[in-house]
Symmetry: C2
Subunit: 623 residues, 2 copies
């Protein structure tokens, strides 16, 4: 992977930063955030402005270009990747390390007095605007909204915004109709005494209307906004997708409906002016509810006194708690996904020793096996197929320049998942196709102990996920090891593979308490730069736990793994496990045998079934 | 303990809330926070306004009185105590429980439209003012500063503000002179480009000048403020304490000093006008540094654009990291404290079976033994001496009405500590003087497992204490149990027994990372209302840990117990301990024998020594 040469692009950007065509006053700095106008994590090609200007295409990062400098902030998952993809024009700012300045502090340290710092108000979330703008103001600078995106002005071959057909989801998948979701939302609005709710996140629009799209790779969403009033529903969406009879029928666009369920379809681009009109028509005490992560542009459309901002919207919270039909769908999806991975790993065991399997071939093979499963739609993220040192690049994606051949001498890490009509999967397994070293086994076993500590944890109702994060690290910490990423994220139901409002991380303090029905990942890891990467990830469902006592009648919760793929026992140093941990592995593998074994049998995949049986032999701990 | 009858007082308060003598417009609500003008946790009698109006005298709580209601917010430590001490005029708001409204939400729900809510601007911290004022404004109400404290207007026999003599601490205790502390502070000020620093917390003033006082019971502090400029030092303090030759000598008040170390002594009450003068004289870009917990009144004295507010001041952070001499002092104090407790427990073992020892007698005896130790100054907080059901009242203090006799049938919990010239102690032991039930032992052992999990934890440099909190709860959680308080707090060095900026709590998100030299408590518990309370508390020092590996060269930390008092093995169900936990107890007891044994021997306390030896017999775990 050679870095993108950005000298010319930066020169052009610095020119438009001073051009009266685009800015009222010359800018001394321009911020290029990661997201799109919906603050999506995964974005369409037309929104990959930060990757375009810098070359760094990881999922998280913010670029800031000043007259003299170009700097990129990203987190521990991407330190190596960013360093590889960016040329010498760029300084890498490693977030999470002690000496790394915040964007604000850095700007203040490099800017001349009274500088103007520009940003696209549609791309920057309101909460970030507020923080950044305050810090700059205190230091005598100004954060200014720049209407036209300056990257777009120099991006001559910028692709078009996608506008793909929609898919409708019936009650057998969603469990709740969109009408009932609107009713529930309005009741939350009434509770908070707000009259309007603005849906800005793409997965929230998709969830609310029981629709799916494919405008963004890996995420079954579509570009749209919605504004829900107590008696009106406005859906802002482009293209002829609303002409599709199935969609019209699903949304009852042509039916005689009670007016409060009649959906008004409006152009995507009209959201700002419509919202401004809503804002202008408000009487005192009338409030508009927005996420505090909605764009600055949309937030500003509502006068400050009328805004009701929350870190998580009621849709985000409702979406996170899966109902019985969604949970069943997630179970089905994970069974199919496990079948595909048993096939893959069985195939790899045979093929890797031949020296013909590269990371890309393995990733493609994983997709091939998944695509044979019923209801497969697409992958849920770019497959991380990484062997040896590539495994230490936490969000690595193999490309021809880095593509390494799997061998019997290196650890192989595969983090992959898919979108099925009934659910979303995300699973990481770390394998060795030869004989792992004692040190590799030791590290793997610490990671496994952390994985089990979270998966088997019992905790009171109302506990926030971040309180569980240290359980995943304790065994590593004991030996002076750690990993520089969170332990888990929420997972959508045939929706985004990363979703809020819950998670398991030392960083996430604003997470909502875990509730039965929520689904998160459990994925501790350990990475040695230049050598190997280890991660063990299951998707787990929050379920009620039976406990001996019940303090204050609060009830307890624990996790049930939805992912049912063998954890390679060859990598485990059994003597580092407690008996309880050993039992956990054996019970887990017994369940894999039963559930996935039955499905492999049903699908007539006998060779993969034999592989599964062999991989799930019980561990025996020497006392 | 019978509740205080507050009907008449509330009537009087509601009258002054409407009286034009005190308020410009009638108030619909008046907030009575817990603290004094320095946001102290422990306060002088003249500042116990919340206790005066409500009867509830726990260390944390906020009262709000409206025309119709009187409500008290407090946390889990005080639910029972507050319920006992308040009459039916009061509604108890149990903080931390799911359905308890915040003060803001409650006010909004009960106030008539456009209400005025009053508060003393010297008592409310600026950060709380900001939050409360914003929430009220959004709901159409106003938070208004009321110059005269309305409680004081109806408190006819309010005691005088104390003004006791000062004590000077020389370098052998503090390790650093006040001049060097001023130099270090000014260098932090220069780093942040601020010209002035306002010292508002009493323990910060005491620490900065290496002075101690006794204006507030249990906390060796004195009423004062300081304002430090780059070339000036102003100390705001009343009385003739500055006439004491030792103090004059210590502060070099009569020496010919470089002007930047010359201390100007000013009246305590002149802080506001002096600060307003500082505020008025600032040029653009000149900043004044205050804690964001400083009072609203002082914060407002500095125009907004000139304020530099941080959650923790540089003094607070420097004070938390004890130097070698302070650490040695803390060790000495804890050895003396352990000697006193060995004497006490030996005495209790003999006396309790006679049925003559009450909670108060036991507490007095503990104080008697402590006062025999060299350098004893006073207790560091009101002794929690509680047996049976009283043990479940987390911050219980025995009074004649509740005073229970210790017996061989009940669990006894003693949480106590002292101020010695060389350090501050805080220790909790839970004992049974007869035969504990299997259930009592089970609960005790879970608490012990939590205590050990924190004490023995190894974690990377830079870890915040709140990430360790769940370790203390895990064994309890596994059985559906928990406790409704944090796990640990910072401890001062011959200063406040509770201090920031570090701690171990599920609630504390703004804590600073733990560093070698910091000192915190480790005190998980378990409480059954109406039955018993269990808590095991040591004060522990953060020290570097040796680990097998060293990820990213970050280094690791762990804890060393400073408290060396036997943990009653009779209460332990050894079979619930792992071998590692069992070893921890045995190693700890071995150290108690060695260190405290030697001191008991030296002090000729042979009976207590025999008790220590017997109580530190190694546990044997049946495999």
């Amino acid at each position: 992977m050679s870095p993108k040469i950005t000298t010319e692009l930066l020169k052009q950007l610095r020119q438009v930063m001073k051009s009266p065509t685009y800015v009222q006053e010359p800018l001394q700095a321009y911020i290029v955030p990661s997201g799109d106008a919906h603050q999506s994590e995964y974005i369409a090609p037309c929104d990959c402005r930060r990757a375009f200007i810098s070359g760094f295409d990881g999922s998280a990062g913010t670029a800031i270009v000043t007259e003299q400098h170009a700097a990129m902030w990203t987190d521990g998952r991407y330190f190596l990747q960013a360093a590889h993809q960016m040329d010498n024009n760029w300084t890498l700012m490693k977030m999470g390390l002690k000496d790394t300045p915040t964007q604000e502090d850095w700007l203040v340290s490099v800017l001349p007095e009274g500088s103007k710092v520009g940003v696209d108000p549609f791309i920057i979330p309101a909460d970030q605007w507020k923080r950044m703008s305050k810090a700059l103001r205190i230091a005598g600078h100004d954060l200014v909204p720049v209407k036209e995106n300056l990257i777009d002005t120099i991006w001559t071959d910028c692709p078009q915004r996608p506008c793909k057909p929609l898919m409708t989801l019936d009650l057998s998948y969603t469990g709740v109709s969109w009408r009932d979701k609107i009713v529930a939302l309005r009741s939350k609005m009434a509770e908070r005494k707000v009259l309007w709710f603005v849906v800005t996140a793409l997965d929230e629009v998709a969830w609310l209307f029981n629709l799916r799209g494919s405008d963004v790779e890996y995420n079954p969403v579509f570009f749209a906004y919605a504004v829900i009033g107590m008696n009106t529903i406005r859906l802002f969406i482009d293209g002829d997708r609303m002409m599709d009879p199935a969609v019209r029928e699903h949304l009852q666009l042509d039916s005689t409906l009670e007016p409060e369920f009649k959906i008004q379809v409006m152009p995507y681009g009209s959201i700002l002016s419509e919202l401004q009109a809503v804002g202008a028509g408000l009487s005192p005490k009338e409030k508009v509810w927005l996420s505090d992560k909605a764009s600055y542009a949309l937030t500003e459309a509502i006068p400050k006194a009328y805004r009701y901002l929350t870190p998580y919207t009621p849709i985000c919270i409702a979406k996170a708690v899966k109902n019985a039909l969604e949970t069943e769908g997630m179970r089905r999806a994970h069974i199919k996904d496990a079948v595909a991975l048993c096939e893959l790993f069985n195939w790899l065991e045979k093929e890797v020793p031949k020296g013909t399997v590269t990371e890309i071939i393995a990733a493609d093979k994983a997709e091939e096996f998944r695509s044979q499963q019923k209801g497969f739609v697409e992958l849920s993220f770019a497959t991380i197929s990484s062997t040896g040192p590539n495994g230490a690049i936490i969000h690595y994606k193999p490309v021809p320049e880095t593509n390494r051949t799997l061998s019997v001498n290196e650890i192989y890490l595969l983090d992959s998942g898919a979108q099925y009509r009934d659910g979303t999967t995300d699973v990481t397994r770390t394998m060795h196709f030869g004989t792992p070293s004692a040190y590799e086994k030791e590290c793997f076993t610490y990671v496994l102990k952390g994985h089990i500590a979270v998966s088997a944890a019992i905790f009171p109702n109302g506990t926030k996920g971040h309180l569980l994060d240290s359980f995943a690290r304790s065994a590593l910490w004991d030996c002076g090891l750690d990993y520089l990423h969170g332990t888990g994220h929420g997972v959508g139901s045939f929706l985004n593979v990363h979703e809020g409002p819950c998670g398991i991380s030392y960083k996430t303090f604003a997470d909502e308490p875990l509730e039965a029905g929520m689904i998160v990942s459990d994925e501790p890891g350990y990475y040695e730069d230049g050598s190997f990467g280890i991660r063990i990830e299951n998707v787990v469902l929050v379920i009620p736990a039976e406990t001996k006592y019940n303090f204050k009648n609060r009830g307890s919760l624990t996790f049930e793994p939805l992912t049912l793929v063998p954890i390679q026992t060859k990598m485990i140093d059994v003597n580092l496990l407690t008996q309880k941990e050993c039992n956990w592995v054996n019970d887990y593998h017994q369940k894999c045998r039963e559930v996935i074994g039955a499905e492999l049998e049903r699908q007539g995949r006998h060779e993969a079934l034999r592989w599964l049986i062999q991989e799930t032999e019980p561990l025996v701990r020497v006392q």
